[in-house]
């Protein structure tokens, strides 16, 4: 009798190593070190994050049902992830019925090729772009430029980043690391025909960008966008934005190509009532974003007459396969977690090396692109780039428990890492701490710390790996007596007795009154 080997289900692929923008070239501590030294950057970030934080608290605090909205958002997203395949097929069916064409891209490379082919088919040599995380993630602009197609970013901040040949450092405010003087310099250098007397007044800077972009909107035949939501029930796509540049891109060109991560699908049209409240209040701190665009396939005589939807996996199915980590896919890219994160606020977005920085990036990036794809993979440092303070969890509009996900990914990292010096030390520490006898002996030995302490009882320098700690902090020398030895001593017993007597006396006095 012959047997057929059906095979084990393979782990879904991550975003391929060496493609796109989901991995930096250095680990977080090294990258952060340089950015922390940039005083201008720290001032820009501190000011911007504090301003957005206050606005967000104001507009979320005024809603009596904010917590219920968060619960609803979390429930809808969790339901979506639990039946992602059927919802995506429904979305494909509806988009096709309404005259659109759906393409499936396993990874960033495939998505780039699909988009490039579609643009070539139109004969256009340039495209206008709506700000999109998905196309940043896959490095679409770099790919298009490499084959002679010029992409124009039309979101003001995204344009600044593009003109500066820079990378975004924030999900919502990609040029958060730039101030107005720097922006003026960039515009003077990069915008063709710009008025050389341009000053640094924000309105003048915006007007310069506007004049430059207006011409692109009027002449470019193809647009590329991302999507905030894709509704399975109706095939409707949606982009929310503030500047109106998105509305131009989505309505003026002949051809519209939308690249959407597969986790952006929502089951029902009505689900938007939850997310269109959660998203603007969490991201820009506005009650409502200025522009909400929705389109369903192609409408004859109105808007782009050719519509393509590229559904992007690029590691999302791999994330979905992780029972715990999949919660990160619920993210709606509001960036509230970045704005409240004390680590992001100091280190800035570039230190994360990924399109997705901050707390959500630290849990999403390793899941999409892996954190052990190469020796000393920089992504393996991301789950550790957090003090686990929990501010992100409180701010998240869909209640992603980011601190728990960070701890889980840290565990996955140590499980994958084989034998390291740290693991041996942790094993040794646990070996000592599980035995009260050894623990007490170790406490006695720690008294040796008094030998290296100065006359003031403080240790001011420690050897590696603790030198980073002692560079800015004194450590008290271990005291002569531990708590347990004090408690067992005659003095400890007498003190505890006296405290109990105190209580008895007070009781007696009260009763006598």
């Amino acid at each position: 009798m012959s047997s057929t080997f059906l095979g084990m289900p393979a782990t879904p692929p991550r975003s391929p190593y060496g493609t796109g923008n989901l991995r930096g070239d250095r680990k977080f501590p090294a990258a952060a070190h340089d950015d922390l030294g940039n005083e201008q950057l720290r001032r820009n970030l501190g000011k911007a994050t504090h301003t957005i934080r206050a606005k967000r608290l104001h507009v979320t605090g005024e809603l009596p049902d904010w917590e219920e909205l968060r619960d609803a958002g979390s429930a809808i997203k969790t339901d979506t992830m639990n039946r992602l395949p059927e919802l995506l097929e429904e979305l494909e069916r509806k988009v096709t019925e309404r005259g659109g064409t759906v393409h499936w891209a396993r990874d960033g490379g495939e998505a780039n090729e699909i988009v490039a082919r579609l643009i070539k088919e139109t004969g256009s040599k340039e495209v206008i772009k709506v700000k999109s995380m998905a196309t940043q993630e896959i490095g679409l602009n770099e790919h298009l430029e490499s084959i002679g197609i010029t992409p124009y970013e039309t979101d003001l901040a995204e344009l600044i980043v593009q003109l500066a040949h820079d990378k975004p450092s924030h999900i919502l405010v990609p040029a958060i690391h730039r101030n107005r003087d720097e922006i003026r310099e960039i515009f003077l250098k990069e915008i063709p025909g710009v008025d050389p007397s341009l000053d640094n007044v924000p309105a003048h800077l915006a007007a310069a960008a506007r004049a430059y972009l207006r011409e692109k909107f009027m002449t470019t035949k193809v647009a590329v966008s991302g999507a905030n939501f894709g509704i399975a029930e109706t095939g409707t796509l949606s982009v929310v934005e503030s500047e109106g540049n998105g509305r131009m891109c989505l309505t003026l060109p002949d051809t519209l190509i939308t690249v959407m991560g597969i986790e952006k699908v929502l089951p029902r049209y009505q689900d938007l009532e939850v997310f269109l409240q959660l998203l603007p209040r969490s991201s820009t701190g506005e009650r409502m974003n200025p522009y909400t665009s929705m389109w369903t396939g192609v409408t004859p005589g109105d808007g782009p007459q050719t519509f393509h939807l590229v559904l992007l996996d690029n590691g999302r199915t791999a994330a979905l396969a992780d029972r715990i980590g999949r919660e990160a896919l619920n993210c709606i890219r509001c960036s509230a977690c970045l704005n409240v994160c004390p680590v992001y606020e100091r280190a800035g977005g570039h230190a994360y090396g990924s399109t997705y920085p901050g707390p959500i990036g630290a849990v999403l990036t390793p899941q999409l692109a892996g954190m052990h794809a190469a020796k000393d993979d920089p992504n393996s440092s991301l789950p550790f780039a957090s003090s686990l303070c929990g501010a992100c969890f409180d701010a998240c509009p869909v209640k992603i428990d980011i601190p728990s996900l960070l701890v889980e990914l840290r565990h996955q990292h140590t499980e994958q890492s084989g034998t390291t010096a740290e693991k041996l030390a942790m094993k040794a520490a646990a070996g000592v701490m599980k035995s009260p006898k050894l623990f007490t002996a170790a406490q006695k030995a720690s008294g040796l710390g008094r030998v290296i302490a100065g006359r003031d009882g403080k240790i001011s320098r420690l050897p590696p790996p603790f030198n980073g700690w002692s560079d800015s902090r004194d450590t008290p020398a271990p005291p002569k007596e531990t708590f347990r030895s004090w408690l067992a001593s005659a003095e400890g017993a007498a003190t505890m007795r006296a405290a109990a007597d105190d209580y008895a006396q007070n009781r007696q006095q009260e009763e006598e009154k």
Binding site: C389, A391, F439, R484, A499, D502, Y503
Partner: protein
């Protein structure tokens, strides 16, 4: 009540005064304080650094030491250790433990409290008879604030202290930058966070910066000592255990 005191490994070894104060305070409020001598560490450092197999014996030991039904409550002067017992022990038991461990962990979890929670929620005490005639500012530690949700409880206790001059800490809910091994692995970022915390402490002009976790205080205090700021750190328990008859005497702060 019969209270099982968990000293925490850090408190027992490096900051015994905070634990002594906790023990004395609870005894002074009329409770029987027991110290299971086999106690060691809750395993939080292991879990937060990514190690979940190694701390299994620590989680088991904790459940065994405090599981006894004669212990009505387990109290510790640390929000993060209480957070570990309440939120992390079951994750470890679920993944790497057996049925006995899972049940042991659940039993202990239900009666584990951080000090301020225990005083306010269980004993319904806000005025614990303390006297502390100094200017104090309070830093809410992240795990007590966002993991345990102690909220205003420590402040209610402090407001009831006789003669205290309690001043609000600006940006109080911002993390001090400790984060356990974070302060070692990401020492630069941690230091940047510490600097902002110290700047805010300085604006209060407080003689004492207090909190419910010796670990965060070790971090803040270590920084304040290095810059010779004149503000010292004291655990919340040390303020609450100070009385008119036995007042806490402030030591000279580094200047």
């Amino acid at each position: 009540m019969r209270i099982g005191l968990f000293a925490t490994c850090l408190g027992d070894t490096l900051f015994p005064e905070a634990v002594k104060s906790t023990a004395v305070l609870l005894a002074r409020l009329g409770h029987d304080v027991v110290f299971p001598p086999g106690q060691t560490c809750c395993g939080q450092m292991h879990v937060n650094t990514g190690y979940q197999r190694e701390p299994v014996p620590l989680v088991r030991n904790f459940a065994e030491q405090f599981g006894d039904a004669s212990i009505d409550a387990v109290v510790m002067p640390s929000g993060s250790c209480a957070g570990s017992v309440r939120h992390q022990h079951e994750i470890i038991a679920e993944r790497y433990g057996d049925a006995a461990l899972r049940s042991g962990v659940a039993t202990v979890k239900a009666k584990t409290y951080e000090l301020s929670e225990f005083l306010v929620d269980v004993l319904d005490a806000t005025d614990v008879g303390a006297y502390f005639p100094h200017r104090v500012t309070y830093h809410p530690t992240c795990h007590s604030l966002r993991m345990l949700r102690v909220g205003e409880k420590p402040l209610r206790l402090l407001r009831a202290v006789d003669s205290i001059d309690l001043v609000e800490l600006p940006e109080a809910d911002a993390c001090c930058g400790f984060g356990g091994t974070f302060a070692v692995k990401n020492a630069d970022t941690s230091t940047a966070m510490l600097q902002d915390k110290m700047r805010n402490v300085a604006t209060t002009g407080a003689a004492v910066c207090t909190a419910g976790d010796s670990s965060c205080l070790m971090h803040i205090g270590g920084g304040l000592s290095r810059i010779k700021s004149g503000t010292r750190t004291l655990h919340l328990a040390q303020i609450l255990s100070s009385t008119r008859t036995a007042p806490h005497v402030l030591t000279e702060a580094a200047r």
